[in-house]
Amino acid sequence: GGGSQTGPAKQEGAQDKPKEKLTIMLDWYPNAVHSFLYTAMKKGYFAEEGIDLDIQMPAETNDPLRMAAANKIDLAFTYQPAVAIARSEGVPVKSIAAVVRHPLNVVLVPKNSSIHSPKDFAGKKIGYPSMPLDEVNIQTMMEKDGADFKQAKMTDIGFDIISALATNRVDAVIGGYKNHEQILLDKKGFPVRAINLSDYGVPDSSELVIAASDKTIADKKDLLARFWKAASKGQDYVLNHKQEGLGYLLANEKKEFPLEKDVEEKSLDILLPLMNEQGQSFGTQSADQWTKVVEWLKKNKQVKPDVKPEDCFTALP
Amino acid sequence: MLAVHQLTYQYPESSTPVLDNISFAVQPGEFVSLIGASGSGKSTIFRLISGLAEPNAGSIKIGGIQEKNRLGKVALMPQKDLLLPWRTVLDNILLPAEIAGRPKEEATRQAQEWIIRAGLSGYADAYPSRLSGGMRQRVSFLRTIMTGADVLLLDEPFGALDTLTRQEMQAWLLSIWEQLGKTVLFITHDIEEAVLVSDRVLVLRSGDNCVDVPIGLGRPRTKDMVFTPELAAYRQQLTHMISGRERE
């Protein structure tokens, strides 16, 4: 947090404003998808809005949502269906903005695998990072492809999406991103193929959204709006200056963990078209997409029938 | 100084009492020996007097007072040496002074003098594992003396010593006893020793009260008295008493 007040932030001349603290937790370790945040921070956009942003990393996939719901943090990067599931379990959170508007999550198989479409999952070990949601993904895909989900051996692989596949402990893995895990595996000499979820009946969803608790939304409406204004400005900058935007991310990480520039570059190329929609401002959510996702979750008994799509998200003013 | 009245004691694990209705008294400044067959309960009496165990029946008075907590009132030298292996000879000897909170320097001076008197010079800084059996016993004896208590309960203090060293230690004990007016209750299996050093000898027989034999020898006692016929007579009498023969 303290670091964000030094350096470029001062140049913008916003130092006199009293700053409000805002905490956001990422969905994963910092990677290309988070460039807009680091850019906005380094360019002083948050400072301009009177925001002192603290970026935290999660310990576990579900931490951001839970911590946000418990008001330990203000904002959480999370997955669209996860918000609906949370509401269904009585966890009071809402999505406030879509960051990546389309799926990144794919099923990865080794390049020379005999698996070519979901019906080939039958009799194979499918690894997933302990998200019940992934079982529904696989089920939907297999049923669409005319196979019986019971034939797949679903295996919980814990934290290590990548090495589970690379060590041939599983025949396929779901939960890796086509902009990240796929590129990494290819680069490290373990070529893989991706099977898209949306090709086999899984509805188009926003891979990453930002969520906050009902209470935070009610109490800090103005602050959140200012946050998103600054974040959007950051995203605009990244869109127009890809190299520089990425540079802010890499620079921020340098001390603790050297990111690989080429991987992040490729990643950002894939990401940017999925983040901004022509004619819509950054973060705009589609009621239609929410309805489809919630319907699909209901059909697969992942959420209770009384979950309303419109409760799952809210637009910022 | 020490009065034991109708003492009865039975170990919790055991089915018969070790001590059954035992009574005796020791006057201030007296030197009394306690003899009896192995397993007759001598050490048990010491456990009771020192307060390590409570009698099932009977009373124990120290200095005329029957106290609930007798611990720390008398000095007990146990039959096993029980030296603390992690302390040097000097530190073992200083233990009672430490516990009493006596000034360290003065206690150390006294301890070092006594180490020399006990023939242990050069061993002050040795750990007990380096000592011979008799040396360990002497350290244990010194430690008991260092409590400074007026009543000394000594359980076979010189049992592991050769004649000469034993005589020196006896003479020294007698001098401490006389000069400082201590009261001593002394367990030994050596009847000669008992007769030589004591004013009275108590003979303990299991399942029986103890018999009191005053020793009519003059003071100071010298080691040459061992060869006198009086001593030989006491010796034979006591030997027979232990074996229970004098009653037949």
């Binding site: 599931i85 070990k125 019940p132 402990r169 | -």
Partner: protein, 249 residues
């Protein structure tokens, strides 16, 4: 001082007080129940999920745990004995032993999986890795710190090393061994749970993790409850065994 029969009521009273405080704390203090559910909700979860918990996952975890603990004991005993008899082996092996404890499981999880696959053995391996260290250290220290005078006595009887070992050194090392075994027994539960994080299809740890990702805290804590009871049970069994073996005290 410590002779009285072991009575359980103070622990029970304490636990009840703790539970009531917890229930109140959660209900009044407003701790969100998706993070820390109240005891009553946990009991609810226990009932709701009882068929899965007891029918499937408990058995799986118990199997991993027992197999692992048994292997640990075997391994720890053999290693301590070897180290005890061969100073060379000790010098070679003790450092490896310590290193084995500091290697973070998450880092070698792939290696583990490479060797053991996702079968029972990978979880057993984790149990062994976690529980044999306290055992080895305490057993070996116990063996080393035995009274050398007693050993000497047996030597004068013409006892060979094996006899000395069994008749003197092992009995002298028992108290220390049991200290280690108590720790190891409890850690075997932890080991099984960690093993299940690294990849599993059943087991209480697996169940808890899935419940956690489904944001069902009642299920998470129901499995935690079962795991804790398992740990207490393991400890108690060892404690009873210790009492029996060291009854001469």
């Amino acid at each position: 001082m410590r002779r009285k029969a072991y009575t359980y009521w103070p622990a029970v009273v304490f636990f009840v007080v703790l539970l009531v405080a917890w229930e109140m704390g959660v209900k009044i203090g407003g701790v969100p129940s998706f993070i820390l559910p109240a005891p009553s909700e946990i009991i609810g979860g226990l009932i709701r999920y009882s068929s899965e918990l007891f029918g499937v996952h408990l058995l799986a975890t118990v199997e991993e745990m027992l197999v692992g603990l048994l292997l640990s004991i075997l391994l720890a005993v053999s290693l301590s004995v070897l180290m005890f008899f061969s100073p060379l082996f000790e010098k070679m092996f003790y450092p490896v032993l310590i290193v084995s404890q500091t290697v973070p499981l998450i880092a070698i999880a792939p290696v583990f999986a490479l060797w053991f696959g996702y079968s029972l053995s990978s979880k057993v391996a984790v149990v062994v890795l976690i529980s044999f260290f306290p055992l080895v250290v305490s057993l070996y220290d116990g063996l080393k710190s035995g009274d050398s005078e007693v050993v000497d006595l047996l030597r004068t009887f013409g006892a060979n090393r094996v006899q000395i070992f069994w008749k003197a050194q092992v009995p002298m090392a028992l108290p220390s061994f049991f200290s280690g075994l108590k720790v190891a027994a409890v850690f075997s539960v932890t080991g099984a749970t960690i093993g299940e994080w690294l990849g599993a299809e059943q087991g209480l740890g697996y169940f808890g993790r899935r419940m956690s990702s489904a944001l069902r805290a009642d299920g998470v804590f129901a499995s935690v409850l079962v795991l804790s009871l398992l740990g207490v049970l393991m400890f108690t069994v060892v404690y009873m065994w210790e009492k029996r073996m060291l009854k001469h005290k």
